[in-house]
Symmetry: C2
Subunit: 153 residues, 2 copies
């Protein structure tokens, strides 16, 4: 199927080219607020714990798409900054229980707002139709990734 293959390749190329552009936008914006000082993975970690309070380190690793070792260091940094808590699970003593602190909730709220505002700024002026098409494409991508993008090692 040549037509379909061409589209797949076009998509792949578009993805490789588009993603880094947005990442730098968000990174730059987060960095511009020294009070927050959250990296994108850190922000995602906080989002995960907001949505899945009490999650484990393994769950975090899976969500972030990194190894457990990497998740462990990310978690450690957030614990030291007192944005999350890490306690033992009495039932399953190998497991840790992760939760946002009050400060974590606040920083997450602020960072999300800032990142979204910056992205929204970049999107400002686009017609509703274009916004809809952009969002539609992204949602389709998400559905693909959530079902198939498990870590492959």
């Amino acid at each position: 199927m040549l037509i379909s293959e061409t589209s797949v390749e076009q998509c792949a190329g578009s993805i490789v080219e588009t993603l880094p552009l947005f990442l730098r936008l968000i990174r730059a914006e987060l960095r511009r607020h020294p009070r927050l000082n959250l990296s994108l993975p850190q922000l995602r970690a906080l989002v995960y714990l907001r949505d899945q309070p009490g999650a484990s380190a393994s769950g975090m690793a899976e969500y972030l798409g990194v190894t457990r070792a990497t998740a462990s260091t990310t978690i450690e940094r957030l614990v030291q900054r007192e944005l999350i808590t890490r306690t033992d699970d009495p039932q399953e003593r190998r497991r840790v229980v992760l939760n946002l602190t009050e400060a974590g909730h606040r920083q997450l709220e602020q960072a999300s707002t800032i990142a979204q505002e910056r992205v929204a700024e970049a999107l400002a002026g686009l017609s509703p139709s274009r916004l809809r098409r952009i969002n539609e494409g992204l949602l389709l991508l998400q559905s693909v990734l959530h079902t198939r993008a498990g870590i492959t090692r």
Copy 2:
């Protein structure tokens, strides 16, 4: 305009959530081929030089969306690995002239193929209509970013 604002926020959220998922997919795939051993920024640097032979370090920084200092170290690594050359510009002696080596061309070719194949694999099975909509959304995003996503410091 409430409707439009809602879409902008949805888009922003979709972007923040979708991008890292794809990045890890590509990163993991590139990493899985030790012969290549190219990071995503390195791959993008090679792509840039393929399309803009003789480019300067400043041009590279702008393309990658990083500071000149960062671009300089990235360039240095690629020079040491003999994937690119960095020579003086006789006309403008502050400037450097960057080009792919033969090895750089080969690695770029291989890495692009591998990355695209992995992404294509993730997209496999999507209907032509969905692929078209995904691609359309990404192209719209690119056009926004290329015109407005200059580095802000």
